[in-house]
Symmetry: C5
Subunit: 325 residues, 5 copies
Amino acid sequence: MIVDNALYHEGVRVPLDDGDPSLGHARVPCGRGDFQWVGLHDPTDEELQQIATTFDLHPLAVEDAGDSHQRPKVERYGDTLFLVLKTLWYVDEDDAVETGEINLFIGPDFVITVRHGQGINLGTARRDLEQRAQVLEHGPMAVMYAICDRVVDEYEKVGASLEIDVDEVEESVFSPARTDDSVRIYTLKREIAEVRRAVMPLREPMRRFASAELSGIDEQTATYFRDVSDHLHRVSEVIDNLDVLLSTAFDAHLARISVQQNEDMRKISAGAALIVVPTLIAGIYGMNFDQMPELHWTYGYPFAIALMVGVSSVLLWFFKKSGWL
Amino acid sequence: MIVDNALYHEGVRVPLDDGDPSLGHARVPCGRGDFQWVGLHDPTDEELQQIATTFDLHPLAVEDAGDSHQRPKVERYGDTLFLVLKTLWYVDEDDAVETGEINLFIGPDFVITVRHGQGINLGTARRDLEQRAQVLEHGPMAVMYAICDRVVDEYEKVGASLEIDVDEVEESVFSPARTDDSVRIYTLKREIAEVRRAVMPLREPMRRFASAELSGIDEQTATYFRDVSDHLHRVSEVIDNLDVLLSTAFDAHLARISVQQNEDMRKISAGAALIVVPTLIAGIYGMNFDQMPELHWTYGYPFAIALMVGVSSVLLWFFKKSGWL
Amino acid sequence: MIVDNALYHEGVRVPLDDGDPSLGHARVPCGRGDFQWVGLHDPTDEELQQIATTFDLHPLAVEDAGDSHQRPKVERYGDTLFLVLKTLWYVDEDDAVETGEINLFIGPDFVITVRHGQGINLGTARRDLEQRAQVLEHGPMAVMYAICDRVVDEYEKVGASLEIDVDEVEESVFSPARTDDSVRIYTLKREIAEVRRAVMPLREPMRRFASAELSGIDEQTATYFRDVSDHLHRVSEVIDNLDVLLSTAFDAHLARISVQQNEDMRKISAGAALIVVPTLIAGIYGMNFDQMPELHWTYGYPFAIALMVGVSSVLLWFFKKSGWL
Amino acid sequence: MIVDNALYHEGVRVPLDDGDPSLGHARVPCGRGDFQWVGLHDPTDEELQQIATTFDLHPLAVEDAGDSHQRPKVERYGDTLFLVLKTLWYVDEDDAVETGEINLFIGPDFVITVRHGQGINLGTARRDLEQRAQVLEHGPMAVMYAICDRVVDEYEKVGASLEIDVDEVEESVFSPARTDDSVRIYTLKREIAEVRRAVMPLREPMRRFASAELSGIDEQTATYFRDVSDHLHRVSEVIDNLDVLLSTAFDAHLARISVQQNEDMRKISAGAALIVVPTLIAGIYGMNFDQMPELHWTYGYPFAIALMVGVSSVLLWFFKKSGWL
Amino acid sequence: MIVDNALYHEGVRVPLDDGDPSLGHARVPCGRGDFQWVGLHDPTDEELQQIATTFDLHPLAVEDAGDSHQRPKVERYGDTLFLVLKTLWYVDEDDAVETGEINLFIGPDFVITVRHGQGINLGTARRDLEQRAQVLEHGPMAVMYAICDRVVDEYEKVGASLEIDVDEVEESVFSPARTDDSVRIYTLKREIAEVRRAVMPLREPMRRFASAELSGIDEQTATYFRDVSDHLHRVSEVIDNLDVLLSTAFDAHLARISVQQNEDMRKISAGAALIVVPTLIAGIYGMNFDQMPELHWTYGYPFAIALMVGVSSVLLWFFKKSGWL
């Protein structure tokens, strides 16, 4: 679906009849420095094809834009730049990271954004940008920067949410309670891998944008991409750190299982001792010797019971004192 | 065996008497832009030798083409390019990845394909290509692209099948049932290593094709190889991710074995307590003291049994309440 | 807050009326070789904005300088260098590494230092520098060197404190006492990761300063940065080494838990044998056979007790001798 | 010992009086394109010294050639190339990889081969080469190629033998039998490390030979070295793969030990239950209550025995049904 | 302390009055090709300062030379080269690697050696060198080579000693005896890390010396440094290999602990069975049923005992046969 379509002249939106869907497929004649921005959301193949014909996009890029399972990348087809970005957001209810996709075609006088799935709201992004004519003036590259910046900002939020999750895991691992944290750690590692796959492939192209190695990016825009690149580095550092922490937490989890097993084993053995020792005493007084003086004592029975309790108490005291329990 | 042999003139197949096997060994005179495509399947050394003589192929490349245990590679011998590709396919019955091999000789006016084992059907690939004269027009490089594309598509299918397998393992590891997943994880890791050995060595040459660093590849063909290269990256990312997931799943498997052992140990100790405590009681009433009032009670025996059941019930309740069970 | 503001002429502080806060925002006219140094501590956004306007700083750098969660970096905006440094210090009470941040703007004739949080005392650093006119003469770069040097010195102190902590952990792991060192190891690994995030990103820019690759750094200043770079390497080596040692210590910890469990199990089994064997003997003499001569011996009972003690003693001796205990 | 010494003229061996040992030390005048090949086996220092003087070899290279504990390397001394190759072979009897060493001096008109220990038979290699005059014609470089090719072929055979060993380990690890595979895995990892140390340092020089970067290697010889380089890559891939497989197999081994321990523990506990429950019953009927009707039944005793057997049977059935056994 | 001071003219020591300590601080006028060599051992700051003034050394290098906790490095200050080398030696008594430090200042016509701690004996090194005028003739670079060579030789000896230690650990891990090898493995890993820190930072500068990239090193001297560089590589390979072996040995150690625990558990359970089964039999004949024919048999008691022994023997035979023991 074509969700928005407008011409920007000197950074200001020029009213187009957005209501007319046929317009989406038409190319508005652009003056020098002007550019057209067409926004699509989950487009059908036909819509995409029409846009491709209108703006003369490369078939391979169009094919990629129609598919929502691309890896993030930046490719140049002639004087058009094609960007695939993964959008990430954190769903609190199920502690999961969800992914969507944004495809950008950046031409000399047009921007085409194709959004798959949920995630970042490009409509809001566009309206924010329209408030800042001095940014929009810089043309399509400014739009690209604005979207990258927003996407990466979302990455940082996801990173922060994952940090909270890892803190929770950490607390759970080191809590005295018996916890089986392996599922949680596994799931978090999986989420982190997903974030990494969104973040890592962008680092190299953003670095190239930042160092103005690509034609079409001037020194000033490059400075802004340096900022995006810096944020990407920050996210990937956070993510890497969380991954390492989780591995360490997992190892600690393993160690604690062993320690607990050891403690349990000692508790069990102590408990067993408290039963089998009296059983031995009972066995002794159950022997059938003719001559067993205790058997004939008036208080022989209470004495035997007292002996059992006494020996067990001594054992318990001994276990505690010696550090066995 | 020579399975097919044809001349392509302006992208259109020129009928040759394929029935005549001797023709396979003859070089058809090519006009400018035309090329000959000879397809071989598990050729004998003699067939290969004759082809080599006809098309003047380098002996080292021919030797490699005759052996089906090469690693994937791209080599240049004069103006002929020699490609070794591993074909992969997933056999559902035994959850295994099978490998075959395709060797390509790409000359200025000929293509020779040598297939070992099963895997991708080059016959179908050829027929598909023959439908698209505008691709075939680009000559031998287009054939090379078409085959690489198809091979890499198969890699992606294998990757998808392995993803399903890993999901199953994951489910099994975290299921409450006692499972011994180590064999499955080991086997999957082995398969993944096999895929990696097919995929990894291709990445560098495909990147070079994609950036048109090799002579004989024009800008437009390079764009298509960029697509292949991109798919290769996707496969290798999927594979790497699965490998890491499996390692993590294995660690979780280890942790769960320990946790289960701990739980078993506690179950066993609780069960033992339910037996040894009554045994102690029975032992006490088996003692031979003269003075044991309970022994002479009318309901002494039922009382003793009730005592045993009662103490065991209390123990059981205590174990449950304290979280031991 | 503006904490200090002065002009340096030929390495000597020129008295300015620091008491007048408005002066902080004014640029003092500089002669050739002179420079102005403004020191800020936890500035408000307005203060930062005024300074930015006065010294014509790039908005992105100013934004970063206002935020205390940057990663260490060096960026060039026109002829101004922007540095973010993490300050680290070790808090003995809770064995933790704390972090602060220093931002530096190094222009051709000015230095602006922005400190967030505690950590290194820039006031003292400035007063020390003012004693060494021959250093200050070298201008803003000398100030940058002096601050980097001081920050990295602190890193080394933190590294030394962590070394002591790791030594303690090591001792605890290999002590015969039962210790649960996994929490301690985990926490230390976390601290080390924090130090690494402060140290690593600085290595590359310092190396570049040291090799005088950046304009504005002469051969002589470069030599001094080589010293800083060398110290950074030393810190990162110490940190890496500690990390590896902790991992090895953790593995050893795991091994020792297992060994201890094994020893405990053998102790338990030996203890059990000392009880169940006499129980068997008691059971035998509790049998009701008509013909059991021992039962009628005068010293049958003492004999049975002696038998129990004797067998247990033999068992104990056997366990010790055979290495079971 | 000088084992062979000959002059090659246009690829053909020129008969020299090999019987005369003094000849070994003499330099035979070479025509254009001719070269002399001296073969030494475990030479004494004096022999080596004489050869060094005759052919004007660099003292450092000669020192290395006399010592059989060098790492593989290629070094250039003036117009002489000095190669150290490790020879590897697999000894079936003790599943071990043995190493020898070959040193080559390749001058413009001479080849000196120094073999230490067993391994590849250079005599056979020489005789094989003498059959192929068209190869020998290419001079000393052809000899170097032939030897490298043969050495690397041996590496591949060793790799194949190790693959069989790893398959055996794999089978043993996953067999239901209790096996202690850690020694075997450790030993294999050690062997693999040894192969790696022979293979890895050769990869870079062979790549350089293959890309004709070294003077003295023409395009055609380079093609042959590309083949050697390719085989080296194959070996190193095999070796790396085996190493990873062994690590995974080891992890699986650990997991299976735990699983077996768990199963054993459950078997033991079930066995114990089958004994202690009847013991409890016996204890009950061993109590001395006045009123125990069963004691006076005619078939009381068989009833008790039947009860014991019955309860044990029920327990056994229950353990099996619930999956405990 | 100044331990030696001499002038070398054409490789020959020119007698100076070494007894006069003031001479140490004086610069002896050097002719073309001559150089002065001053040797210091644990110098005071004043001694170092005087030398620095006499030979015009850079203050940062002098500061480093006074401190014995530097990392190995090579730095150029003007036309003076500054080297920091770690000396290593193995102390047999406590299986530990000790470290010392040597600092070298190599000027165009002087060498200053500063030794901290024990380790290599520079006095002997000097006397050895003085025997070889043809080496000393090459000037200060020859001295640098000779010292580097000697230091690296010591590294190789340390490596060899560590190899013996690792062999011992290996033997201990795989011996049937119960050993707790984790302390030993940990300590060895620590020593290896120490060696690595001495060796690794030297590899890059030695490589640069070997390829004559540094001015002041001619082709011939470079060849000698190539030898040193080669030895360094050998040491670092040995060290890396030992590290990997130790990790694998540690894993094997863990596996064997588990295997032993399992075996112990089975021994314990078998032992328990041999006791509890007779106890059950005793319990049965301790029951008080009126009708128990065996009780009245003349040989009932011996029969019961025989039954106990018989059942236990059968059990023992069964455990052995089934592989449980």
